[in-house]
Amino acid sequence: MRALGELEERVMTILWDEHPLSVRDVCARMKRSKLAYTTVMTTLDRLHKKGVLARTKQGNAFLYLPAIDRSEYQRRVVETALGPMFEQGAAPVLAAFVDMAAEVDESNLARLERLIADHKRRK
């Protein structure tokens, strides 16, 4: 999934800290922003459609709660953003500490670890 917009992220931050909340509750917690009730309602509805919020009906109002936690959201955004680059081995686009995707042989790793240990001992 793509990263959320600024307002969406602020709404999610409120709901990750405290839930479930109604539209009115979220509005009350965003008092400083002076956002219209309908703006918050639309944002919550959009987040629900994106699958990051779940909702239950209580009387005439919806109560919203996160469908995924903050770290899961972060993981999904990172996977969507960087996943294709990893699959295509597009590391040269970024200046990486380690690059070039491929398998590294376990015995080779063990051999290199011995090489480093020998080097340390000789010093």
């Binding site: 040269p92 970024l94 590294v104």
Partner: protein, 313 residues
């Protein structure tokens, strides 16, 4: 300006670019062992020049010929036995289907490849913007929640180091320092800007030669940053960090990631432990050679002009 003249100049550009690029690539291949001994800085700048010089020199030759051909004296009157490299009298090129096909195919390939480079850059920029939004700041780096093992530096105006949470957890405090030093070395030596320039230059290089030189430039750049990180920490710490990151990715059977292939990893570990010379960049020599080549092109423009016309028939 006639269409035929444009076709003539495009054909000449393609032939010159290909020939110069192959010559530059062959020079790097032949000097491979000597460059490796000279150190990663020399190796890296040689690869960069082998990518940049053919396009620059071709541009200089074409500019010199175009200026020569646009003078007040009509040079075409004296020799009408072959197609002229001239924007005013180059109509004969239109009678050569092979030249038209070569010019059209080359122009199309070039545009598509440049569009590909631009598209990848745009996609990467958008991806990094998304990652930056969700990354958490910690100890001079941005920690990215991911089970993959990676670390990289990104951001042209304000470079930032990004490390996956899995990689960060796998490293000791000293190894983290080594990783940060490596990434900062990339930013300090302008790899983010230079990488973009190299990508564009690769498009103009001969087929396969561009990709080969790009890998050489990138590999030498990694070893150069390893050496610079070793100066900040210790060669063993950098080597440890490399192996540890590869192991962290390997144990989890991550299908791919920013982990080096076996031989590249071994090469880098051995290079950093050997603590050989970093070497000096070839910039002053390369600038002098480029300047001499461009001045010679301008001085001998007339002879070059006739030589190319005769060569192209």
């Amino acid at each position: 300006m006639t269409l035929g003249g444009v076709v003539g100049f495009v054909v000449l550009s393609v032939l010159l670019l290909t020939a110069l690029s192959l010559m530059a690539t062959a020079s790097i291949a032949l000097a491979g062992a000597r460059l490796r001994r000279a150190g990663p800085a020399a190796e890296r700048s040689a690869a960069a020049w082998a990518l940049l010089a053919p396009a620059t020199l071709t541009l200089a030759v074409i500019a010199a010929l175009a200026i020569r051909g646009s003078g007040t004296i009509d040079h075409c009157i004296g020799h009408d036995h072959h197609a002229h490299l001239c924007f005013a009298h180059g109509g004969a090129w239109l009678a050569r289907p092979l030249a038209i096909a070569l010019a059209a195919a080359s122009a199309l390939t070039l545009v598509l490849r440049l569009a590909g480079v631009a598209w990848r850059r745009i996609q990467t920029g958008a991806a990094i913007a998304d990652v930056r939004r969700v990354a958490e700041c910690a100890d001079r780096v941005r920690i990215v929640q991911s089970q993959r093992v990676f670390c990289f530096v990104a951001g042209h105006r304000k470079p930032e180091v990004f490390v996956s949470s899995r990689a960060w957890e796998a490293l000791s405090a000293d190894e983290r320092e080594a990783v940060i030093a490596h990434e900062r070395a990339h930013a300090a030596q302008g790899d983010l800007w230079l990488g973009a320039l190299i990508d564009v230059a690769s498009v103009f290089a001969a087929p396969l030669a561009g990709a080969w030189l790009r890998v050489r430039w990138s590999d030498a750049g990694e070893r150069l940053c390893d050496a610079r990180a070793a100066q900040h920490t210790a060669p063993e710490t950098v080597a440890d960090a490399l192996v540890r990151l590869c192991r962290a990715g390997h144990v989890q059977h991550v299908p791919s990631g920013f982990t080096p292939r076996s031989e590249a990893l071994e090469h880098r570990v051995r290079a950093v432990l050997a603590s050989g010379p970093i070497g000096s960049e070839l910039h002053p020599i390369a600038w002098c050679l480029a300047a001499v080549a461009i001045i010679a092109t301008a001085v001998f423009a007339t002879h070059l002009h006739h030589a190319f016309e005769t060569l192209l028939g």
